[in-house]
């Protein structure tokens, strides 16, 4: 589903060039439940953005569903995001002036589905999340867990191939966090690839595969250290 070869990314701020991702290689198969871990500054958010087609990369290849993703126009990127990827954010990012149902229906609005149709569909997904009676509530009337479930429903409504979750439990208490995690597991069992970025070990442990990042390179996958050729190592050859 996702193939990444020798991925590099650096940011330029003023005169400083910050090399964030220094050559990543990994694959994620369809239907996997993967977590990406790392301390802040390890490049995990950057990686997520690239995977989510929210950002470009400098070097290497990124294949999504065997499609090379590179130098996309904003319009094409928007269409691909809409079709393939569902996003779940730490701070939920619901639209404040739309009620729960309208928030869930929003991605379908961008697919130009009629209002009636997409609202029916949104209700379906809210029902799956157990939020039927909250459909007409505004986001500020919902609890954190409810908000995140609305956000998940919104991510699922386009029937994406991949769910990208950026610290989805970061703003939730432990009990709610576990509830959300079991929700992700259920989604995963439907065959949807789920990638969760987190720094919480107990969350990561609930996934099938843990990719650990450190300083822009992959430190380990499922605890197995990955050997890297560094500039220093050349000296030993």
């Amino acid at each position: 589903m996702i193939r990444i070869n020798n991925l590099h990314k650096s940011y330029t701020t003023g005169q400083n060039k910050l090399h964030v991702l220094k050559g990543l290689d990994f694959n994620i198969k369809e239907g996997e439940l993967v977590s990406i871990m790392g301390s802040s500054g390890s490049g995990k958010s950057t990686l997520l953005n690239i995977v989510g087609i929210l950002d470009n990369y400098d070097q290497g290849d990124y294949y999504l569903d065997n499609m090379l993703i590179r130098d996309m126009s904003e319009k094409k990127a928007a269409l691909l995001r809409n079709k393939y990827i569902g996003f779940v954010f730490q701070s939920f990012n619901l639209i404040s002036f739309k009620n729960a149902m309208e928030n869930v229906a929003l991605p379908l609005y961008y697919q130009k589905m009629s209002r009636k149709k997409r609202n029916i569909k949104a209700m379906e997904y809210l029902e799956k999340m157990g939020l039927t009676e909250w459909a007409n509530h505004m986001p500020n009337e919902l609890s954190g867990g409810q908000k995140q479930r609305v956000a998940i429903a919104r991510a699922l409504i386009t029937q994406p191939k991949i769910i990208l979750a950026d610290e989805p439990t970061g703003a939730l208490d432990t009990t709610t966090s576990y509830e959300v995690m079991s929700l992700f597991k259920e989604i995963n069992q439907l065959g949807i690839t789920v990638i969760i970025v987190t720094h919480e070990n107990d969350i990561a442990e609930r996934t099938d595969k843990i990719i650990r990042l450190k300083d822009g390179i992959i430190e380990s996958v499922n605890g197995k250290k990955i050997a890297h050729k560094t500039e220093n190592s050349l000296a030993y050859v």
Partner: protein
Amino acid sequence: MFDIDRWQEIYAALKSNKLRTFLTAFGVFWGIFMLIIMLGSGKGLENSVFEDMGDFATNTAFIWARRTTIPYEGYPRGRRYNFTNDDMKALKDNISEIDVLAPRLQGWGAGDGENNVTRGLKTGAFTIQGDYPEMNKIDPNKIVNGRFINYKDIEQSRKVCVIGSRVKEVLFEENEEPIGKYIRIKGVYFQVVGLIEPVSNINFGGEKEQTIFLPFTALQKAYNFGNEVHYFSVTAKENVPVSVVDEKCKAIIRERHHIHPDDKQAVGGFNLEEEFAKMKGLFTGISVLIWIVGTGTLMAGVIGVSNIMLIIVKERTKEIGVQRAIGATPYKIISQIILESVVLTALAGYIGLVIGVGLIELINYLLVSSGSEGDFFRHPSVDFNVAISALIILIISGALAGLIPAQRAIRIKPIDALRDE
């Protein structure tokens, strides 16, 4: 297609800070309001001038005799001369561009002091003029009753007269019918054949309300004016500038009266067309000024909108980021921002337009109903085309106001938008 989600978003964006939205809208409102008020007032000033002219032929020139200033053909300078009946014929015969030529004899003025007209026990001092029927083509009067002077009157030098409304008030009882009655002018009886009211406010020699018009020939003969003509009013045929006719007339007059061809001073003249053109130019200038100032004010309002849209975009960075993450295309974002800007400007502008036009109409209504239609301000109005073009300017400027903020909005990378936590 009516897209409820778009309007929901616009409503939410504008509602989020009501005071700010109001103040921004007020800038645009004020701009268009002032533009409309100024245009209406400009029109009011213009009307007061041009309505005064009534139906007065605007392509008229007047010429009269003065003293010569250059000695010529043995005559000294400073010589007096008079226009004559023969001049009239010569002008008509030699200048094909003349449309109407009306000679006038200025009898006595109302301001001469002595009462020159009597009827029974009633007396009054009025302006007495000798006219040709043509005069009514140059400066038409409203004929209330009877008729104006005709050619039969001229040919036979009939002792008839046409009187102004004020003359009737002074010499006749309130309900008395003046037509057919006789009045005595400087000792000679004239029969009243017409009663007129002035249309234009342009007066030569005296106010037309208190003028008595006699047949030109009758005035000449009854009071020993010989063949004297005091001045000529002349209009040009269509598509001929009256200045051409004016010059030709003066040239012929100079030739006929032994005046040096370069003696500009000897023949006095006044060209209404020139004055009219100057007036037109003045009002064109005023309206250009109004448009410059008005659109300037409007621009200030529109820039205000643009500014606020920038802030709105900044505030909604995150929201826009989310929308883009879940599949909103750049076009969708741009069109949304521009639409918001257009809605804000158009709505505020429309209200300004309506209130501005309303106020103009109210002023007009008050002026008319109070009967105090001033000499300087009359029938202020804004014509429909101007209102429509103002509205189009508004919508275009609203779109322009939204353009920069919209571009700013799509330059935001979704990641940057979502990162600020």
